[in-house]
């Protein structure tokens, strides 16, 4: 019997959401306890700041240039490598419960396996692998799929319809009549994508994901090795937690987050010092990410909107923490307490008011790139708790899962496993972390490549619709933790900038061509 793996992800969660990372609003005692007895990574970045590319990196251990999911809407190839497949071949039982999103959501033709599995209420779909043998889709023998609400072709939506056919309408309507992400405001302040949701807490997707996880684990024999990816859809927008929970955090009493610049003139000076797509989006003239509501203009965001959205996100974070607590209790009750490795992270961050912006896009700053990442090794592994300051990426997860299972680093994986401490980080080659962005949605072409190392983050904007290839961002994370002073054009830092760019281009894998087609907006 080996070590079992509980892989917990949230969606669009900030580093500072958690108490163990200095967050002072949401109470997250369960995650904080995992952090105290495990390894906390203080500089963990995704390899892309939207869902599908980032999740594909987690599964494949590859950068975006290699796995080819270069923006949302590009499906991960059905024969892409999967660490879940490797674990299953090694004897692990495998499940993915909650949000998958390796394939597009908007799929009326039912072309993609996730949507066929969910809409059919199936456990998985068998495919013939390269070895000629049948294997479950992406290596998961059990799927129980959900997304941000009660609609869509997923198990949660089917379950919710059976509970109450009217329940789905209690959630915020994610798309409008034009199939654009809905810009409608709600709550107390008219904040975008906020709704007071009448859904009972026990019917909310966070609870369902935990319930489904507990139920699947209960089907396993005591001596099974297992890999369970428990994937919460929250705190991704829309921000519509159950209304019954709104008393947890009163938005009226919240301080504004440090990243929000209250003075509009100062805020706009900071934006103007960044590549031009920042200010163009703020003014509502250049929306390059489908998930940012096209009809919403960021410069209309009020301080109270920011407070209310933050309150909603923190309520959702608390619900996630409590749901994890229920799962950990059930694991302990099975007698597995000492043999389970828990990894906790998210796919990307959320601007959540920083720079007067919400949602996400080609904005490679800590709001979107600095992620919570915790590895609580099984007690039986006797790994000392630590905090790691070295830069690491989600690209290291696949190798980490392999190492927990006693497998060698997969030959397709592009990173060594996560380190146990900073000393090991150096020996494993965790010197830098890379992040890519590409989008071409509706003719708006944006590309960015970023390297973070030695306390600096450097982004070059590729030639596109509004960039000529000369723009970029350079931040000193030690002296400018909020990334307000862009040193890209500062001649005193030009040599350092160029050295970082050389390091970026020499470290980034060559792009696999031809590019895979984008089959949906998300």
């Amino acid at each position: 019997m080996g070590r079992k793996i509980l892989f917990i992800t949230t969606d669009q969660q900030r580093y500072d959401a958690l108490g163990c990372n200095g967050g002072g609003i949401a109470r997250t005692p369960v995650i904080d306890a995992l952090a105290r007895s495990g390894i906390v990574y203080d500089r963990a970045h995704p390899q892309n700041v939207v869902c599908m590319p980032s999740r594909s990196t987690m599964l494949t251990g590859q950068h975006v240039s290699t796995h080819g999911v270069w923006m949302n809407g590009v499906p991960l190839s059905s024969d892409a490598p999967s660490i879940a497949s490797d674990l299953r071949r090694a004897g692990y039982r495998t499940a993915l419960i909650g949000k998958a999103h390796f394939e597009p959501f908007i799929d009326p033709f039912l072309r993609f396996a996730e949507n066929r599995i969910g809409s059919g209420g199936l456990e998985t779909e068998m495919i013939i692998g390269a070895d000629g043998l049948p294997a479950p889709h992406r290596g998961f023998e059990h799927f129980a799929l959900a997304t941000h609400g009660g609609l869509g072709p997923f198990h949660y939506a089917r379950w919710l319809r059976e509970k109450n056919p009217a329940a789905a309408a209690m959630f915020f309507q994610v798309l409008d009549q034009q199939l654009q992400v809905n810009a409608e405001g709600g709550g107390d302040t008219g904040a975008p994508q906020v709704k007071h949701n009448e859904i009972p807490r026990e019917w909310y997707h966070t609870e369902w994901v935990a319930d489904q996880t507990i139920a699947w684990l209960a089907t396993l024999p005591a001596d099974a090795d297992w890999f369970c990816w428990m994937s919460f859809p929250d705190p991704h927008h829309p921000w519509d937690p159950p209304k019954s929970e709104l008393g947890r955090v009163d938005w009226h009493e919240l301080d504004l987050p440090p990243g929000y610049i209250e003075d509009a003139a100062q805020r706009e000076r900071v934006l103007d010092d960044k590549p031009r797509h920042w200010r163009l989006w703020y003014d509502g003239t250049f929306v390059s990410n489908y998930e940012a509501p096209a009809k919403w203009v960021p410069n209309t965001l009020t301080a109270d909107n920011v407070r209310e959205i933050n309150a909603m996100a923190h309520i959702e974070n608390e619900l996630i923490d409590e749901a994890i607590g229920r799962v950990m209790t059930s694991i302990a009750a099975r007698g597995w307490g000492d043999d389970v490795d828990v990894l906790y992270t998210t796919d990307h961050g959320e601007l959540q008011g920083d720079f007067g912006l919400m949602f996400k896009g080609p904005y490679h700053v800590d709001s979107l790139m600095r992620l919570p990442l915790i590895w609580r090794p099984a007690a039986s592994a006797r790994v000392a708790p630590s905090r790691v300051s070295a830069p690491v990426g989600l690209v290291a997860l696949a190798s980490t899962f392999a190492s927990i299972a006693g497998l060698p680093q997969p030959d397709y994986a592009e990173s060594a496993r996560l380190p146990h401490d900073d000393r090991e980080a150096a020996s494993l080659g965790h010197e830098r972390v890379l992040t890519e962005w590409d989008s071409v949605l509706f003719g708006k072409i944006v590309g960015a490549r970023t390297v973070c190392r030695d306390g600096w983050v450097c982004t070059t904007m590729l030639p596109g619709t509004v960039h000529d290839g000369t723009e970029g961002e350079l931040y000193d994370l030690v002296h400018d933790p909020l990334q307000r002073v862009n040193l890209w054009h500062d001649p005193r830092h030009a040599a350092h900038r160029d050295a970082l760019l050389d390091d970026l281009w020499s470290s980034l894998p060559a792009r696999v061509l031809p590019l895979r087609p984008c089959d949906a907006p998300v």
């Binding site: 597009p104 033709f109 039912l110 072709p153 034009q178 199939l179 654009q180 509706f442």
Partner: protein
């Protein structure tokens, strides 16, 4: 999509509008005069007006109608002679909401790949 079969052979399948589900990711097609109804695998049915069905040009054009969520649509499928005994099939979509055009474009890509496989294996 290039298909290593002559245009008349390709058009024989593409131009039979009731058989599109044999190569496009659809559940079924039904044609009555200048009308067609296609049913997706999700069970959604779209009503279409057949705008052009020209055997000499090897061109098919259609509009999705009667759907309040689709404010405009024109789909076009051309089978072109590549001049070397093969064919190039071009499937294009103009529509609002534009987000749905991307989805139809993805399905068309899969459909054209299927078409090539079916015809070149035949």
């Amino acid at each position: 999509m290039h298909i290593d079969r002559d245009p008349d052979t390709v058009w024989k399948l593409v131009g039979d509008l009731a058989r599109q589900h044999e190569w496009f990711p659809l559940a079924s097609c039904r044609v009555e005069g200048k009308k067609r109804w296609i049913t997706l695998r999700t069970g959604i049915t779209f009503e279409e007006d057949i705008v052009t069905h020209d055997h000499s040009l090897r061109r098919f054009q259609y509009r999705i109608v009667g759907n309040p969520g689709i404010t405009s649509h024109l789909g076009t499928c051309d089978v072109l002679d590549d001049g070397r005994g093969g064919s190039v099939v071009v499937y294009s979509t103009d529509m609002e909401p534009a987000a749905l055009a991307l989805v139809i474009g993805g399905a068309a890509g899969e459909g054209l790949a299927n078409l090539k496989r079916i015809l070149e294996l035949a």
